[in-house]
Protein backbone atom coordinates (compact mmCIF):
# COMPACT_ATOMS: atom_id res chain seq x y z
CA UNK A 1 0.00 0.00 0.00
CA UNK A 2 1.09 3.51 -0.72
CA UNK A 3 1.76 5.90 2.14
CA UNK A 4 -0.50 8.91 1.91
CA UNK A 5 1.22 10.61 4.82
CA UNK A 6 4.92 10.52 5.56
CA UNK A 7 6.67 12.37 8.34
CA UNK A 8 10.38 12.18 8.81
CA UNK A 9 12.18 13.62 11.82
CA UNK A 10 10.26 16.83 12.13
CA UNK A 11 11.60 19.76 14.08
CA UNK A 12 9.61 22.80 15.05
CA UNK A 13 10.61 25.89 16.98
CA UNK A 14 7.84 27.93 18.54
CA UNK A 15 8.12 31.71 18.87
CA UNK A 16 9.01 31.30 22.54
CA UNK A 17 12.00 29.18 21.44
CA UNK A 18 10.54 25.89 22.66
CA UNK A 19 11.76 23.22 20.33
CA UNK A 20 9.36 20.37 19.58
CA UNK A 21 10.41 17.35 17.58
CA UNK A 22 8.84 14.26 16.16
CA UNK A 23 11.80 12.09 15.38
CA UNK A 24 12.67 8.51 16.07
CA UNK A 25 10.66 5.98 14.05
CA UNK A 26 9.19 7.21 10.75
CA UNK A 27 5.54 8.13 10.82
CA UNK A 28 3.60 6.79 7.86
CA UNK A 29 -0.09 6.42 7.20
CA UNK A 30 -1.92 4.31 4.60
CA UNK A 31 -5.27 5.06 3.04
CA UNK A 32 -8.09 3.98 5.31
CA UNK A 33 -5.80 3.27 8.26
CA UNK A 34 -6.82 4.12 11.82
CA UNK A 35 -3.76 5.65 13.45
CA UNK A 36 -3.45 6.59 17.11
CA UNK A 37 -0.72 8.87 18.41
CA UNK A 38 -0.28 8.10 22.07
CA UNK A 39 1.77 10.15 24.49
CA UNK A 40 1.73 12.29 27.63
CA UNK A 41 0.81 15.99 27.58
CA UNK A 42 3.59 18.03 26.04
CA UNK A 43 5.14 15.12 24.15
CA UNK A 44 4.67 16.79 20.78
CA UNK A 45 1.45 15.13 19.63
CA UNK A 46 -0.37 18.33 18.74
CA UNK A 47 2.69 19.79 17.04
CA UNK A 48 2.87 16.70 14.84
CA UNK A 49 -0.82 17.07 13.94
CA UNK A 50 -0.46 20.76 13.15
CA UNK A 51 2.34 19.95 10.73
CA UNK A 52 0.26 17.31 9.00
CA UNK A 53 -2.61 19.78 8.70
CA UNK A 54 -0.21 22.35 7.28
CA UNK A 55 -0.65 24.99 9.98
CA UNK A 56 3.05 24.97 10.83
CA UNK A 57 6.11 25.15 8.65
CA UNK A 58 8.75 22.62 9.63
CA UNK A 59 12.13 24.09 10.51
CA UNK A 60 13.73 20.79 9.73
CA UNK A 61 12.59 17.39 8.54
CA UNK A 62 9.92 16.38 6.08
CA UNK A 63 6.16 16.15 6.02
CA UNK A 64 4.32 14.88 2.98
CA UNK A 65 0.60 14.49 2.56
CA UNK A 66 -0.58 13.02 -0.74
CA UNK A 67 2.90 13.73 -2.03
CA UNK A 68 2.78 17.44 -1.20
CA UNK A 69 4.10 19.69 1.53
CA UNK A 70 1.00 20.47 3.58
CA UNK A 71 2.26 23.91 4.60
CA UNK A 72 2.80 25.02 1.03
CA UNK A 73 -0.34 23.41 -0.31
CA UNK A 74 -2.60 24.27 2.59
CA UNK A 75 -5.56 25.36 0.51
CA UNK A 76 -5.37 22.37 -1.79
CA UNK A 77 -4.99 19.81 0.99
CA UNK A 78 -7.46 21.46 3.31
CA UNK A 79 -10.29 20.09 1.20
CA UNK A 80 -9.09 16.56 1.84
CA UNK A 81 -9.06 16.99 5.60
CA UNK A 82 -11.57 17.16 8.38
CA UNK A 83 -10.08 18.43 11.60
CA UNK A 84 -11.41 18.54 15.15
CA UNK A 85 -9.18 20.28 17.68
CA UNK A 86 -9.03 19.50 21.36
CA UNK A 87 -11.26 22.14 22.82
CA UNK A 88 -14.52 21.97 20.93
CA UNK A 89 -15.80 25.08 22.62
CA UNK A 90 -13.18 27.02 20.77
CA UNK A 91 -14.07 25.77 17.33
CA UNK A 92 -17.84 25.63 17.09
CA UNK A 93 -18.86 28.77 15.31
CA UNK A 94 -22.58 29.30 15.69
CA UNK A 95 -25.04 30.81 16.08
CA UNK A 96 -26.88 27.51 15.62
CA UNK A 97 -25.60 23.95 15.43
CA UNK A 98 -26.72 23.87 11.82
CA UNK A 99 -24.52 26.87 10.99
CA UNK A 100 -21.47 25.16 12.38
CA UNK A 101 -22.05 21.87 10.60
CA UNK A 102 -22.76 23.65 7.30
CA UNK A 103 -19.80 26.02 7.65
CA UNK A 104 -17.36 24.38 5.24
CA UNK A 105 -20.01 23.50 2.68
CA UNK A 106 -21.26 27.07 2.68
CA UNK A 107 -17.77 28.49 2.46
CA UNK A 108 -17.20 26.37 -0.62
CA UNK A 109 -20.05 28.32 -2.13
CA UNK A 110 -22.36 25.33 -2.55
CA UNK A 111 -26.07 25.93 -3.18
CA UNK A 112 -28.39 26.08 -0.22
CA UNK A 113 -30.25 22.86 -1.00
CA UNK A 114 -27.00 20.97 -1.51
CA UNK A 115 -25.67 22.30 1.79
CA UNK A 116 -28.92 21.40 3.52
CA UNK A 117 -28.77 17.87 2.23
CA UNK A 118 -25.13 17.37 3.20
CA UNK A 119 -25.70 18.79 6.69
CA UNK A 120 -28.79 16.70 7.26
CA UNK A 121 -27.09 13.52 6.04
CA UNK A 122 -24.12 13.87 8.33
CA UNK A 123 -26.29 14.93 11.26
CA UNK A 124 -28.36 11.77 10.75
CA UNK A 125 -25.28 9.60 10.63
CA UNK A 126 -24.14 11.06 13.96
CA UNK A 127 -27.66 10.98 15.45
CA UNK A 128 -27.72 14.71 16.13
CA UNK A 129 -30.58 15.68 13.82
CA UNK A 130 -32.55 16.84 16.80
CA UNK A 131 -29.82 19.32 17.71
CA UNK A 132 -29.62 21.19 14.40
CA UNK A 133 -31.68 24.11 15.59
CA UNK A 134 -30.05 24.35 19.03
CA UNK A 135 -27.52 26.86 20.25
CA UNK A 136 -24.15 25.11 20.58
CA UNK A 137 -23.31 26.91 23.79
CA UNK A 138 -25.88 24.97 25.81
CA UNK A 139 -25.01 21.49 24.60
CA UNK A 140 -23.23 18.89 26.70
CA UNK A 141 -19.57 18.07 26.10
CA UNK A 142 -20.39 14.90 24.20
CA UNK A 143 -22.93 16.63 22.01
CA UNK A 144 -20.52 19.45 21.20
CA UNK A 145 -17.93 16.92 20.16
CA UNK A 146 -20.41 15.31 17.80
CA UNK A 147 -21.31 18.68 16.33
CA UNK A 148 -17.66 19.50 15.71
CA UNK A 149 -17.20 16.05 14.20
CA UNK A 150 -20.19 16.57 11.90
CA UNK A 151 -18.72 19.90 10.80
CA UNK A 152 -15.42 18.19 9.99
CA UNK A 153 -17.12 15.36 8.12
CA UNK A 154 -19.63 17.25 6.02
CA UNK A 155 -17.49 17.26 2.88
CA UNK A 156 -16.55 13.57 3.36
CA UNK A 157 -12.82 14.25 3.74
CA UNK A 158 -10.15 11.65 3.02
CA UNK A 159 -8.55 12.18 6.40
CA UNK A 160 -10.11 12.87 9.72
CA UNK A 161 -7.64 14.40 12.14
CA UNK A 162 -8.65 14.56 15.78
CA UNK A 163 -6.72 16.05 18.67
CA UNK A 164 -7.58 14.41 22.00
CA UNK A 165 -11.18 13.67 21.00
CA UNK A 166 -11.88 11.66 24.16
CA UNK A 167 -10.70 14.24 26.62
CA UNK A 168 -13.26 15.32 29.24
CA UNK A 169 -15.84 12.87 27.91
CA UNK A 170 -17.61 10.40 30.13
CA UNK A 171 -17.63 6.71 29.34
CA UNK A 172 -20.87 6.77 27.38
CA UNK A 173 -19.95 9.67 25.11
CA UNK A 174 -16.52 8.15 24.60
CA UNK A 175 -18.07 4.92 23.37
CA UNK A 176 -20.42 6.78 21.07
CA UNK A 177 -17.61 8.76 19.51
CA UNK A 178 -15.53 5.62 19.01
CA UNK A 179 -18.45 3.95 17.32
CA UNK A 180 -19.03 6.92 15.03
CA UNK A 181 -15.38 7.04 14.07
CA UNK A 182 -15.27 3.34 13.26
CA UNK A 183 -18.45 3.62 11.18
CA UNK A 184 -17.10 6.57 9.24
CA UNK A 185 -13.84 4.72 8.66
CA UNK A 186 -15.69 1.71 7.29
CA UNK A 187 -18.33 3.48 5.25
CA UNK A 188 -16.15 6.08 3.55
CA UNK A 189 -12.73 4.47 3.99
CA UNK A 190 -11.75 7.66 5.85
CA UNK A 191 -8.24 7.65 7.24
CA UNK A 192 -8.24 8.44 10.97
CA UNK A 193 -5.38 10.15 12.75
CA UNK A 194 -6.08 10.59 16.42
CA UNK A 195 -4.00 11.77 19.36
CA UNK A 196 -4.82 10.73 22.88
CA UNK A 197 -3.30 10.12 26.28
CA UNK A 198 -6.12 7.78 27.21
CA UNK A 199 -4.67 4.37 26.83
CA UNK A 200 -7.84 2.45 27.51
CA UNK A 201 -9.68 3.55 24.37
CA UNK A 202 -6.87 2.53 22.09
CA UNK A 203 -7.63 -1.16 21.46
CA UNK A 204 -11.14 -0.41 20.24
CA UNK A 205 -10.08 2.03 17.54
CA UNK A 206 -6.45 1.61 16.48
CA UNK A 207 -4.94 -0.24 13.56
CA UNK A 208 -1.55 1.32 14.22
CA UNK A 209 -0.31 3.05 17.33
CA UNK A 210 2.60 5.45 17.55
CA UNK A 211 3.90 6.16 21.02
CA UNK A 212 5.58 9.53 21.24
CA UNK A 213 7.62 10.70 24.19
CA UNK A 214 9.46 14.04 24.42
CA UNK A 215 9.67 14.37 20.68
CA UNK A 216 10.68 10.80 19.85
CA UNK A 217 8.44 8.21 18.29
CA UNK A 218 9.49 5.27 20.45
CA UNK A 219 7.08 2.50 19.52
CA UNK A 220 5.06 1.73 16.42
CA UNK A 221 2.74 -1.20 15.99
CA UNK A 222 -0.63 -2.69 16.74
CA UNK A 223 -2.18 -2.78 20.20
CA UNK A 224 -0.79 -6.21 21.06
CA UNK A 225 2.71 -5.11 20.19
CA UNK A 226 2.59 -1.72 21.87
CA UNK A 227 0.94 -2.82 25.08
CA UNK A 228 3.41 -5.58 25.69
CA UNK A 229 6.26 -3.04 25.98
CA UNK A 230 5.57 -1.98 29.53
CA UNK A 231 9.02 -0.54 30.14
CA UNK A 232 8.94 1.84 27.17
CA UNK A 233 5.41 2.87 28.09
CA UNK A 234 6.55 3.58 31.61
CA UNK A 235 9.32 5.81 30.34
CA UNK A 236 6.75 7.72 28.33
CA UNK A 237 4.73 8.00 31.58
CA UNK A 238 1.82 6.48 29.77
CA UNK A 239 -0.74 4.83 31.96
CA UNK A 240 -0.11 1.14 31.77
CA UNK A 241 -3.32 -0.40 30.54
CA UNK A 242 -4.79 -2.14 33.52
CA UNK A 243 -4.94 -5.57 31.93
CA UNK A 244 -1.36 -5.40 30.71
CA UNK A 245 -0.28 -4.45 34.21
CA UNK A 246 -2.23 -7.31 35.78
CA UNK A 247 -0.77 -9.90 33.44
CA UNK A 248 2.68 -8.38 33.74
CA UNK A 249 2.42 -8.90 37.50
CA UNK A 250 1.27 -12.46 36.94
CA UNK A 251 4.36 -13.01 34.79
CA UNK A 252 6.49 -11.58 37.59
CA UNK A 253 4.94 -14.10 39.97
CA UNK A 254 6.27 -16.84 37.73
CA UNK A 255 3.18 -17.61 35.69
CA UNK A 256 3.84 -18.14 32.01
CA UNK A 257 1.23 -16.18 30.15
CA UNK A 258 1.08 -13.68 27.28
CA UNK A 259 -0.26 -10.19 27.82
CA UNK A 260 -3.79 -9.80 26.48
CA UNK A 261 -5.27 -6.56 25.28
CA UNK A 262 -8.99 -7.09 25.57
CA UNK A 263 -11.14 -8.19 28.46
CA UNK A 264 -12.39 -11.21 26.50
CA UNK A 265 -8.88 -12.36 25.74
CA UNK A 266 -7.92 -11.91 29.39
CA UNK A 267 -10.93 -13.91 30.55
CA UNK A 268 -10.11 -16.78 28.16
CA UNK A 269 -6.49 -16.85 29.27
CA UNK A 270 -7.49 -16.97 32.95
CA UNK A 271 -9.98 -19.75 32.33
CA UNK A 272 -7.35 -21.71 30.42
CA UNK A 273 -4.87 -21.28 33.24
CA UNK A 274 -7.37 -22.42 35.83
CA UNK A 275 -8.26 -25.41 33.71
CA UNK A 276 -4.63 -26.33 33.32
CA UNK A 277 -4.22 -25.89 37.06
CA UNK A 278 -0.69 -24.62 36.56
CA UNK A 279 0.97 -24.61 39.98
CA UNK A 280 2.87 -21.52 41.07
Amino acid sequence: MEHIIKVDCLKHIYPDKTEVRACGLAFTVNKGERVIILGPNGAGKTTLLNHIIGLLKPVDGQVEVLGMSPYENFNKLRKHMGVVFQNVDEQIIGPKVYDDIAFTARSEGLKKDVVDKLALDIARKLCIEHLLDKIPHYLSGGQKKKVALAGALIMKPDFLILDEPFDSLDAKSKKEIIQILNTVNQDYNTTLIITTHDVNVVPSIADTIYVINSGEIVIKGDAAHVFSQLEVLKDASIDKPILSELFFQLQQSGIEVDIPFSIEEAKDKIIDMINEGQRV
Partner: protein
Amino acid sequence: MSHIHFPDGIIPLYIWIPAYLVTFGIIFLITKTIEKEKIKKLLPLTGIAAALMLIGMSVPLVIIPVHLSLAVLTGILIGPKLGFVVVFVVGLILASFGHGGITIVGINTLVIGSEVFVGSMLFRLLGKKKKLLGVVFSTVIALVISLALMVSVVGYTAGFENALPHTHLEHSHEHEEHIDHHEDHHEHSGELEESISNINYLFFSGWVALILIFVFGIALETIVTSLIVMFFYKVRPSLIDSAHNFANN
Protein backbone atom coordinates in the same frame (compact mmCIF):
# COMPACT_ATOMS: atom_id res chain seq x y z
CA MET B 1 -12.58 52.71 15.06
CA SER B 2 -11.62 56.27 15.83
CA HIS B 3 -8.73 55.38 18.02
CA ILE B 4 -6.24 58.19 17.58
CA HIS B 5 -2.98 56.65 16.62
CA PHE B 6 -1.35 59.98 17.25
CA PRO B 7 2.16 59.80 18.59
CA ASP B 8 3.49 61.91 21.44
CA GLY B 9 4.86 65.35 20.87
CA ILE B 10 2.27 66.70 18.49
CA ILE B 11 -0.74 67.52 20.60
CA PRO B 12 0.23 70.48 22.81
CA LEU B 13 0.48 70.27 26.59
CA TYR B 14 -2.46 72.58 27.20
CA ILE B 15 -4.71 70.05 25.50
CA TRP B 16 -3.47 66.70 26.71
CA ILE B 17 -2.96 67.60 30.35
CA PRO B 18 -6.51 68.89 30.91
CA ALA B 19 -7.79 65.88 28.94
CA TYR B 20 -6.00 63.59 31.39
CA LEU B 21 -7.41 65.51 34.35
CA VAL B 22 -10.97 65.35 33.01
CA THR B 23 -10.55 61.63 32.30
CA PHE B 24 -9.39 60.96 35.85
CA GLY B 25 -12.21 63.10 37.18
CA ILE B 26 -14.78 61.07 35.28
CA ILE B 27 -13.24 57.77 36.37
CA PHE B 28 -13.24 58.97 39.96
CA LEU B 29 -16.92 59.88 39.71
CA ILE B 30 -17.73 56.55 38.13
CA THR B 31 -16.01 54.57 40.87
CA LYS B 32 -17.84 56.64 43.47
CA THR B 33 -21.26 55.90 41.97
CA ILE B 34 -20.82 52.14 41.89
CA GLU B 35 -21.74 50.38 45.13
CA LYS B 36 -18.86 48.61 46.79
CA GLU B 37 -20.62 45.26 46.74
CA LYS B 38 -21.31 45.55 43.05
CA ILE B 39 -17.68 46.17 42.27
CA LYS B 40 -16.88 42.52 42.92
CA LYS B 41 -19.34 41.51 40.28
CA LEU B 42 -18.27 44.19 37.85
CA LEU B 43 -14.51 43.76 38.18
CA PRO B 44 -14.15 40.58 36.13
CA LEU B 45 -16.69 41.87 33.63
CA THR B 46 -14.75 45.08 33.16
CA GLY B 47 -11.43 43.29 32.83
CA ILE B 48 -12.85 40.88 30.32
CA ALA B 49 -14.46 43.65 28.29
CA ALA B 50 -11.13 45.46 28.19
CA ALA B 51 -9.38 42.27 27.12
CA LEU B 52 -11.91 41.80 24.35
CA MET B 53 -11.42 45.34 23.15
CA LEU B 54 -7.65 44.88 23.22
CA ILE B 55 -8.07 41.77 21.14
CA GLY B 56 -10.26 43.63 18.67
CA MET B 57 -7.70 46.41 18.41
CA SER B 58 -4.44 44.53 18.49
CA VAL B 59 -4.98 41.04 17.15
CA PRO B 60 -4.91 40.83 13.38
CA LEU B 61 -8.18 39.19 12.54
CA VAL B 62 -6.59 37.85 9.36
CA ILE B 63 -9.70 37.58 7.33
CA ILE B 64 -10.66 41.24 7.35
CA PRO B 65 -7.97 43.77 6.70
CA VAL B 66 -8.51 46.19 9.60
CA HIS B 67 -8.69 46.30 13.34
CA LEU B 68 -11.97 46.83 15.07
CA SER B 69 -12.60 48.95 18.14
CA LEU B 70 -15.76 47.29 19.41
CA ALA B 71 -16.33 50.40 21.54
CA VAL B 72 -20.04 50.74 20.83
CA LEU B 73 -20.51 47.04 21.32
CA THR B 74 -18.72 47.27 24.66
CA GLY B 75 -21.02 50.11 25.65
CA ILE B 76 -24.09 48.11 24.67
CA LEU B 77 -22.92 45.09 26.65
CA ILE B 78 -21.57 46.66 29.82
CA GLY B 79 -22.95 50.18 29.83
CA PRO B 80 -21.28 53.55 29.38
CA LYS B 81 -19.75 53.88 32.86
CA LEU B 82 -17.70 50.72 32.84
CA GLY B 83 -17.21 51.24 29.13
CA PHE B 84 -15.39 54.47 29.89
CA VAL B 85 -13.07 52.76 32.37
CA VAL B 86 -12.42 50.04 29.80
CA VAL B 87 -11.50 52.59 27.14
CA PHE B 88 -8.95 54.19 29.46
CA VAL B 89 -7.36 50.87 30.42
CA VAL B 90 -7.16 49.74 26.81
CA GLY B 91 -5.71 53.07 25.70
CA LEU B 92 -3.00 52.92 28.31
CA ILE B 93 -2.02 49.37 27.43
CA LEU B 94 -1.92 50.17 23.71
CA ALA B 95 0.20 53.24 24.42
CA SER B 96 2.67 51.07 26.27
CA PHE B 97 3.94 49.73 22.99
CA GLY B 98 3.66 52.75 20.82
CA HIS B 99 0.12 52.19 19.54
CA GLY B 100 -0.66 55.86 20.10
CA GLY B 101 1.26 58.13 22.41
CA ILE B 102 1.16 57.97 26.18
CA THR B 103 0.25 61.64 26.36
CA ILE B 104 -2.72 61.06 24.10
CA VAL B 105 -4.41 58.48 26.34
CA GLY B 106 -6.53 61.12 28.10
CA ILE B 107 -7.78 62.59 24.84
CA ASN B 108 -8.36 59.16 23.38
CA THR B 109 -10.35 58.10 26.40
CA LEU B 110 -12.57 61.16 26.14
CA VAL B 111 -13.09 60.71 22.41
CA ILE B 112 -13.76 56.97 22.43
CA GLY B 113 -15.52 57.26 25.78
CA SER B 114 -17.98 59.55 24.04
CA GLU B 115 -18.42 56.91 21.39
CA VAL B 116 -19.23 54.35 24.07
CA PHE B 117 -21.60 56.75 25.81
CA VAL B 118 -23.45 57.93 22.72
CA GLY B 119 -23.61 54.45 21.24
CA SER B 120 -24.97 52.71 24.31
CA MET B 121 -27.41 55.49 25.22
CA LEU B 122 -28.77 55.66 21.69
CA PHE B 123 -29.12 51.91 21.58
CA ARG B 124 -31.11 51.96 24.80
CA LEU B 125 -33.39 54.45 23.19
CA LEU B 126 -33.58 53.09 19.67
CA GLY B 127 -32.87 49.40 20.10
CA LYS B 128 -35.97 48.63 22.13
CA LYS B 129 -38.31 48.35 19.21
CA LYS B 130 -36.26 48.03 16.05
CA LYS B 131 -33.25 45.96 16.97
CA LEU B 132 -31.23 46.02 13.78
CA LEU B 133 -32.07 49.58 12.86
CA GLY B 134 -31.34 50.61 16.41
CA VAL B 135 -27.87 49.15 16.48
CA VAL B 136 -26.99 50.46 13.02
CA PHE B 137 -28.09 53.99 13.86
CA SER B 138 -26.48 54.01 17.29
CA THR B 139 -23.19 52.77 15.93
CA VAL B 140 -23.07 55.14 12.99
CA ILE B 141 -24.00 58.19 15.03
CA ALA B 142 -21.58 57.30 17.82
CA LEU B 143 -18.78 56.80 15.35
CA VAL B 144 -19.51 60.01 13.51
CA ILE B 145 -19.55 61.98 16.75
CA SER B 146 -16.30 60.50 18.02
CA LEU B 147 -14.69 61.01 14.62
CA ALA B 148 -15.83 64.60 14.61
CA LEU B 149 -14.29 65.04 18.05
CA MET B 150 -11.09 63.47 16.94
CA VAL B 151 -10.89 65.59 13.82
CA SER B 152 -11.52 68.70 15.89
CA VAL B 153 -8.68 67.85 18.25
CA VAL B 154 -6.34 67.14 15.38
CA GLY B 155 -7.64 70.08 13.43
CA TYR B 156 -7.27 72.41 16.36
CA THR B 157 -3.73 71.26 16.93
CA ALA B 158 -2.76 71.57 13.32
CA GLY B 159 -4.77 74.74 12.98
CA PHE B 160 -7.91 74.34 10.96
CA GLU B 161 -7.16 77.52 9.12
CA ASN B 162 -4.11 75.78 7.89
CA ALA B 163 -6.21 73.52 5.81
CA LEU B 164 -7.84 76.42 4.04
CA PRO B 165 -5.87 78.06 1.27
CA HIS B 166 -6.05 81.68 2.41
CA THR B 167 -5.02 81.49 6.01
CA HIS B 168 -1.63 79.91 5.96
CA LEU B 169 0.21 83.21 6.33
CA GLU B 170 -1.34 84.10 9.64
CA HIS B 171 -0.70 80.68 10.88
CA SER B 172 2.98 80.59 10.20
CA HIS B 173 3.54 82.96 13.11
CA GLU B 174 2.14 80.56 15.54
CA HIS B 175 4.84 78.13 14.70
CA GLU B 176 7.59 80.68 14.87
CA GLU B 177 7.00 80.92 18.55
CA HIS B 178 7.37 77.22 18.81
CA ILE B 179 10.26 76.53 16.63
CA ASP B 180 13.05 78.91 15.99
CA HIS B 181 14.69 76.83 13.33
CA HIS B 182 12.16 77.55 10.72
CA GLU B 183 12.19 81.26 10.38
CA ASP B 184 14.07 81.15 7.15
CA HIS B 185 11.40 79.07 5.51
CA HIS B 186 8.66 81.43 6.32
CA GLU B 187 10.46 84.50 5.20
CA HIS B 188 10.02 83.28 1.68
CA SER B 189 6.49 82.29 2.15
CA GLY B 190 5.32 84.90 -0.30
CA GLU B 191 7.35 83.40 -3.09
CA LEU B 192 6.19 80.02 -2.17
CA GLU B 193 2.55 81.04 -2.37
CA GLU B 194 1.93 79.04 -5.48
CA SER B 195 3.57 75.85 -4.41
CA ILE B 196 1.81 76.05 -1.10
CA SER B 197 -1.56 76.23 -2.75
CA ASN B 198 -0.52 73.16 -4.66
CA ILE B 199 0.22 71.49 -1.38
CA ASN B 200 -3.12 72.69 -0.16
CA TYR B 201 -4.74 71.06 -3.11
CA LEU B 202 -2.91 67.87 -2.33
CA PHE B 203 -3.87 68.29 1.25
CA PHE B 204 -7.47 68.66 0.25
CA SER B 205 -7.45 65.49 -1.77
CA GLY B 206 -5.78 64.01 1.26
CA TRP B 207 -8.88 64.91 3.21
CA VAL B 208 -11.06 63.26 0.59
CA ALA B 209 -9.03 60.10 0.87
CA LEU B 210 -9.24 60.35 4.63
CA ILE B 211 -13.00 60.75 4.50
CA LEU B 212 -13.25 57.71 2.27
CA ILE B 213 -11.21 55.75 4.79
CA PHE B 214 -13.48 57.04 7.56
CA VAL B 215 -16.60 56.01 5.66
CA PHE B 216 -15.15 52.57 5.03
CA GLY B 217 -14.15 52.26 8.66
CA ILE B 218 -17.55 53.36 9.91
CA ALA B 219 -19.29 50.97 7.56
CA LEU B 220 -17.16 48.02 8.62
CA GLU B 221 -17.41 48.70 12.34
CA THR B 222 -21.16 49.18 12.00
CA ILE B 223 -21.66 45.98 10.05
CA VAL B 224 -19.60 43.89 12.45
CA THR B 225 -21.22 45.46 15.52
CA SER B 226 -24.69 44.89 14.08
CA LEU B 227 -23.93 41.31 13.11
CA ILE B 228 -22.63 40.56 16.60
CA VAL B 229 -25.65 42.16 18.25
CA MET B 230 -27.95 40.16 16.00
CA PHE B 231 -25.90 37.06 16.83
CA PHE B 232 -26.65 37.67 20.50
CA TYR B 233 -30.33 38.11 19.73
CA LYS B 234 -30.34 34.66 18.24
CA VAL B 235 -28.19 33.03 20.86
CA ARG B 236 -28.85 34.85 24.10
CA PRO B 237 -31.39 37.66 23.81
CA SER B 238 -31.25 38.35 27.54
CA LEU B 239 -27.81 39.84 26.99
CA ILE B 240 -29.07 42.60 24.75
CA ASP B 241 -32.34 43.09 26.58
CA SER B 242 -30.45 43.77 29.76
CA ALA B 243 -28.67 46.57 27.90
CA HIS B 244 -31.97 48.41 28.06
CA ASN B 245 -32.23 48.16 31.82
CA PHE B 246 -28.74 49.19 32.76
CA ALA B 247 -29.99 51.87 35.07
CA ASN B 248 -26.95 51.75 37.29
CA ASN B 249 -24.08 51.23 34.96
